[in-house]
């Protein structure tokens, strides 16, 4: 074990810090991570993306020939960690393109597709959304029904998708559809790249309990896309999608974000009073804070263990579900604890007392399902751990 970094790595860290001191747009007023805040400060975010792109730090480990960084895992971790520590925005603006589309393009795309689609993602010129979930197929993607039929040199798409984030912002969608109705569940699916202005597509925003509309339903009514827009072979859609899943953003930055929230919670507990005493002296608050502290630190360290495996070229698979499950618990608990620390003010959506203490935790209390359910429900994660790590049999 060794928790120190090489001189080269430390030099890279210094370089990142210098860069952040100059370019991090969150150095002044922080940009919230929700869409409204992002849109309100779009010019700053575009400048941030451009500055990162000039350093080849967008798509840090993507091939250099398409504008990526070609970088290594440790440097990437250092970059993400420093950015998160400095409260910088995420590494690039075209979030879905970077997280979900790029990895599939790199592995399965034709040369034309790579040249056409990768640079605009890195330069934040084109934005993407994803079409995976369906009303009848949430955690169970294999049972999806949205279909694409060949008609000459086009696919004709009919069906529905749901829980699509950033749909109104995106120019493109990566869509998982059934192209062979006779094939077994996981086969017979293909990935299509669909322009959002295609005729026959309808986007209906979904309002959630916070009152915001972070998702949309997408309806496809005879939407036609040319066969060149298929990513990977016909029937390979499941593999393409799994590539994106396996390339989920490293958990390092996520953990740093959790650490920030925990710091804010501790700070809140110092400022608020429960039953006449500082909340930080309340025994229930203390034990809940300590548990969060231990859990987040365990997640950070487990993340480093997984990263080490990757560095050593060992496969990592289901073990990341351990952190996903913990993250779900932590996300729910943080919103709850924040509001509980605020006492009566914890039930204010906004207003005189809310101003005082931030209204941040109310948002959190109403927003956790995005993270907790979006990444696969806790029950699904438990099944993954039980079956793929412990080797227990399937449910039925």
């Amino acid at each position: 074990m060794n928790f120190t970094f090489s001189p080269e790595e430390e030099r890279f860290r210094s370089e990142v810090r210098v860069f952040l001191a100059e370019k991090n747009p969150n150095r002044g007023e922080k940009i919230g991570s929700d869409i409204e805040s992002s849109l309100a400060r779009l010019p700053q975010l575009l400048a941030w993306n451009q500055a990162l792109y000039d350093k080849h730090w967008v798509g840090f480990n993507w091939p250099q020939r398409y504008g990526g960084g070609g970088g290594g895992l440790i440097e990437q971790m250092i970059l993400k960690e420093e950015c998160a520590k400095d409260h910088a925005p995420i590494l690039g603006l075209s979030y879905m393109g970077l997280a979900w589309v790029g990895p599939g393009l790199i592995k399965y795309g034709t040369e034309e597709q790579k040249q056409r689609f990768i640079p605009p993602i890195l330069k934040a010129e084109e934005h993407w959304c994803t079409g995976y979930s369906e009303p009848g197929a949430g955690s169970d993607l294999a049972s999806l029904q949205c279909k694409a039929e060949r008609d000459g040199d086009h696919y004709v798409i009919n069906g529905q998708k749901i829980w699509t984030s950033l749909a109104s912002w995106a120019q493109w969608m990566i869509l998982l559809v059934r192209t062979d109705l006779s094939a077994p569940k996981h086969l017979g699916m293909s990935c299509l790249l669909v322009p959002m202005d295609a005729e026959g597509m309808e986007v209906r925003p979904i309002k959630v309990m916070s009152g915001e509309t972070p998702f949309a339903e997408i309806f496809f009514n005879d939407v036609r896309v040319p066969i060149e827009n298929r990513l990977g072979e016909e029937g390979q859609g499941w593999d393409v999608t799994k590539t994106a899943l396996a390339n989920e953003r490293s958990s390092i930055a996520e953990v740093t974000a959790l650490q920030h929230n925990l710091e804010d919670l501790k700070d809140l507990a110092r400022r608020c009073r429960i039953g006449g005493r500082a909340a930080i002296e309340d025994s229930s608050v203390r034990s809940r804070l300590a548990k969060l502290d231990c859990t987040i630190e365990a997640m950070r360290l487990s993340g480093l263990r997984f990263l080490t495996k990757q560095l050593r070229g060992e496969p990592i698979g289901a073990e990341t579900s351990v952190n996903k499950l913990l993250r779900a618990q932590v996300e729910v608990e943080m919103g709850r604890l924040g509001c509980d620390i605020e006492g009566s003010a914890g039930r204010l959506l906004k207003g005189p007392h809310g101003m005082d203490v931030g209204a941040k935790w109310q948002k959190h209390m109403l927003g956790w399902p995005t993270t907790v359910i979006g990444g696969g429900t806790p029950n699904i994660q438990k099944n993954v751990i039980a079956e793929r790590i412990l080797g227990l049999p399937h449910d039925v």
């Binding site: 955690s139 049972s143 009073r273 009566s344 005189p352 209390m365 907790v372 099944n383």
Partner: protein, 374 residues
């Protein structure tokens, strides 16, 4: 020994259920949530027509003279339907008035409360955010100009339905101790600031008192001698609130159960997976346990000298049951549970928001021991 509803209570329960179903189903609750009017007048009058506001008030002042455990029956069903009416807060205020007020004071207010023409509420909480004697610092002090009246100065926070109230029972501090004053909501110097709550099926407001004149005959009982009775009424209030929470928790479990019976995943209804069914079973155990504690506490506030332990057991378990049921109702629904259209989120917000009203589960849990001298 009979620990079940009487025939009258069972009829009352059915009556409230029918009322909720026909007059204010959740679709109507959603409309009222969005309304700028804090209490729907028509709905409130219909409730009054059924005698609910009169239920626990003394017969000599137009009430039905029933017991607090009967209000618990209404509160549970109101909570089940998230009925956006101040039935519980109003009844608690009336109880305080009836117990501390002299015949004139009772005659002035209680008949109008019984008919629903007036709404009353207790203004207790302050910045200290504790439901204890030491939490009261709003001052009732002699006027500077030497007149017979007193002046109220200070602020009350999170007063339930203050924006709909005609009468505020203000818990105030005098040199002699804690007193209660009956203050019309439209008295000069009273400013009511409605709050924007996570749970929009309920209303609360801050109330600021700036040199509000009150006469001696607005004081309920002797100067400085009110705290013990205030504490007992807050306990009764907490029990009725707990009943609302039990109703809400039960509804959340039912909604999740029905969803689990129809929603399919991986080829089976999700209710066949122990991950879902065992969670629902645990929630049911929480609801049933809280219900037993709440029913008994509802009886105890009328029959026992010191019901604190029973109230605190009821409130802590009811708060936790509703909070857990609301959250798990969303988790069992998956993403759909989190959409505005799904009722799961309404119950989640109710459970979360009511958890700390009239004392957090931790505060009550601590009081379970301290009230035993531990």
């Amino acid at each position: 020994m009979d620990f079940g509803f009487t025939e009258e209570q069972a009829q009352l329960q059915s009556q409230v259920r029918r009322f909720v179903d026909s007059e204010c189903p959740l679709a109507r609750v959603r409309e009222l949530m969005a309304s700028s009017v804090p209490v729907d007048k028509g709905l409130w009058e219909k409730a009054a027509g059924l005698g609910w506001q009169a239920l626990t008030l003394p017969e000599e002042h137009g009430g039905l003279g029933l017991a607090w455990e009967d209000l618990v029956v209404i509160a549970e069903e109101a909570g089940r339907g998230l009925l956006p009416l101040p039935l519980v807060a109003d009844a608690a205020a009336a109880r305080l008035l009836a117990r501390l007020g002299n015949p004139q004071q009772c005659a002035r207010w209680l008949p109008a409360i019984a008919t629903g023409d007036s709404i009353a509420t207790i203004a207790m909480l302050e910045d200290a955010d504790v439901y204890e004697d030491r939490g009261v610092s709003l001052q009732a002090s002699a006027s500077a100009n030497g007149s017979a009246s007193l002046k109220l100065n200070g602020a009350k926070r999170f007063v339930p339905y203050a924006q709909a109230a005609d009468l505020l029972l203000v818990i105030a501090r005098e040199p002699e101790g804690v007193s209660v004053f009956a203050v019309p909501a439209d008295s000069p110097g009273v400013t009511i600031i409605p709050l924007v709550l996570v749970d929009a099926t309920q209303r609360e407001a801050d109330v600021v008192f700036n040199e509000v004149s009150v006469c001696d005959d607005q004081r309920l009982g002797r100067a400085g001698a009110a705290w013990a009775e205030v504490a007992r009424v807050l306990d009764a209030h907490a029990v009725a609130l707990s009943a609302e929470l039990v109703g809400a928790a039960d509804a959340a479990v039912m909604i999740a159960t029905e969803y689990a019976k129809v929603r399919k995943q991986f080829g089976h209804t999700i209710g066949r997976f122990q991950g879902v069914k065992h969670r629902l079973a645990e929630l049911h155990v929480g609801v049933e346990s809280a219900r037993s504690l709440v029913y008994y506490a509802g009886w105890a506030v009328d029959h026992l000298e010191d019901a604190r332990m029973h109230v605190s057991m009821a409130k802590s378990f009811a708060s936790m049951a509703a909070d857990e049921a609301g959250e798990d109702c969303i988790q069992i629904h998956g993403a759909i549970g989190y959409t505005w259209e799904c009722d799961a989120q309404l119950y989640y917000k109710r459970g979360r928001a009511s958890r700390n009203i009239l004392g957090s589960p931790e505060w009550h849990s601590e009081r379970v021991l301290s009230s035993q001298g531990l």
